[in-house]
Structure formats: C-alpha cells, structure tokens
Amino acid sequence: MTDTLKEIQKKEVELEKGVERTRETRVYTPAVDIVEKDDDIVVFADMPGVDEHSVDVTLEKDLLTIYGRIEPEVPENHKLVVSEYGVGDYQRTFTLSDEIDKDHIHATVRDGVLRLVLPKAEKAKTKKIPVTGTA
C-alpha cells in the first residue's frame, strides 16, 4: 500500500544548483504513460487543472518538453484546513530519438490528461516480413 501511495503523490521537479525560477510557483513532474505502437509513440501525462490553452509542448533539437501552467483557484474568503496535495505547474522533458517524425507531433488535452502522439519516421516503422512456407 505504501508503494501505491508513493506513486500517487505528486513529485516536485528538482532544480539544478544555482538555478531559480522567475515565476513563484511549485513545479511538479507529471506522471506519464509511454506506449509504443507500430506507427507511433503515445505519451499520456496527468496534468490536472491544465487545458489546451495552458499547456505548451516544445521541441528543441531532440528535447521534447511539456509545460502546464496552473492558475491556482482559491475559494474566496475560505481557509485551507486540510491540505493533502499542492498545486503548481507541471514540467517534464524527454529525449527523442531521430526515429520520430517531428513535424507531425499531435497533442490534445482532456479532463486534465495530456495525450501526445509522436509518429514514427517512415524508416523506423515496424515492417512486417511475410513468411512464406515451402510448399
């Protein structure tokens, strides 16, 4: 049970020494699923609170970065009495291989889950080799 709990808890992004953020907010590492299929690689990231306008997907050389900006919604005049989770931005970076068709990356967000489709470049696609039996 402790293991499950650990996975569910949000992890904050660790900053390199000497690096500071300009925006005063916490930044969390979103949990992801990465699924490789025949024609593409699909990434799912849990980013609750993020919509299509507040998520940025950038590709610089081989680094794919997802960044979700959160504007915390605090109920007016209310006092926080139980705090089990923190609210903040999301950031995670992945290194892509050359096998990705970088011009056709597609991203959608639904119910706080980002879905990124990274199509494989033509040459990296799995080719099925027909096996013929000898008659």
């Binding site: 049970m1 499950t4 709990l5 996975e7 569910i8 808890q9 949000k10 949990a31 992801v32 699923d33 990465i34 699924v35 490789e36 299929k37 025949d38 690689i41 699909v42 799912f44 849990d46 980013m47 609750p48 609170g49 993020v50 919509d51 919604e73 605090v74 109920p75 005049n77 209310h78 006092k79 926080l80 009495v81 139980v82 705090s83 089990e84 989770y85 967000v109 639904r110 119910d111 706080g112 889950v113 879905r115």
Partner: protein
C-alpha cells in the same frame, strides 16, 4: 506530538483533521488514500477540491450523509494494454472511494460539484437547521 483535550477544544480543526485521519485509516483499505483532497472552510460553507484526471464522469459518485461526504469513481486505462508496449507506466487507473468528514452536517440538497480539466470541486453548505440561531428576548 500529543495534544491535550484543551488544545483540541481550542482548535476544532486540529481535531477535525485527526478524526479524518482516523476515519481514512479505518475506511476501505488500498484506495482509501486516493484521491488526495484539499478542504477549504468559510464558516458554514466548505469546499473540497481533488485532482482526479481522466476519470469517467458516469462513474463519478458523490454521496452525503450527515457530516460525511464520500467520493467514488473509476478511471479507465488510457489505452488498452495489448495495443502496444509500455516504456513508462506511471498512471494510476482503477476504482477509488474516499470518505471525508466535515465538522458540520451537510445540506445534501445544496451540494454543488463541478469537474473541469480533471479537477473536482465540491461546495458543501451546512444544514440550515443546524446553524446557530439568535433568540430574541422579549
């Protein structure tokens, strides 16, 4: 840290927090910790927020009884497993249920809930009949 009876009396929220912890410990095991919630209070109103991305709206259930509210639902897997090979598998899916206790009885008819961008927000007013009343002395 131990708290004396007097301290608890002076800070009902500390006691409320302690009760919630106890309640969740004894409640259904396994999924009782998910989802994490934040509870906000303003006098006779409370707001509970929780991050539950990707949850199937149809499965979501909020039930109120006395001073407790139970959230339950389920999150389907984003992709059928057989369709590909997983390089990372960190997302959680399955059923969840969690009970939260408030320091007042909730007016079930006035509970409002919204689910937006994977964040569930429930506002729970106190039951009118339980509110303190001012008695005029004639």
């Amino acid at each position: 840290m131990t708290t004396t009876y007097l301290e608890r009396l002076l800070d009902p929220w500390k006691e409320f927090d302690r009760m919630n912890r106890l309640l969740n410990m004894t409640a259904s095991s396994g999924s009782s910790e998910y989802p994490a919630v934040n509870v906000w209070v303003n006098g006779d109103k409370a707001v509970i927020t929780t991050e539950i991305p990707g949850v199937d709206r149809e499965s979501m259930d909020i039930s109120v009884s006395g001073n407790t509210v139970t959230l339950s639902g389920s999150r389907p897997a984003e992709e059928p497993e057989e369709e590909g090979s997983y390089h990372r598998h960190e997302l959680w899916h399955g059923k969840f249920s969690k009970t939260i206790k408030l320091p007042f009885n909730i007016d079930g008819d006035k509970v409002k809930a919204t689910y937006r961008n994977g964040v569930l927000r429930i506002s729970l007013p106190q039951l009118e009949a339980d509110k303190p009343r001012k008695i005029n002395v004639s």
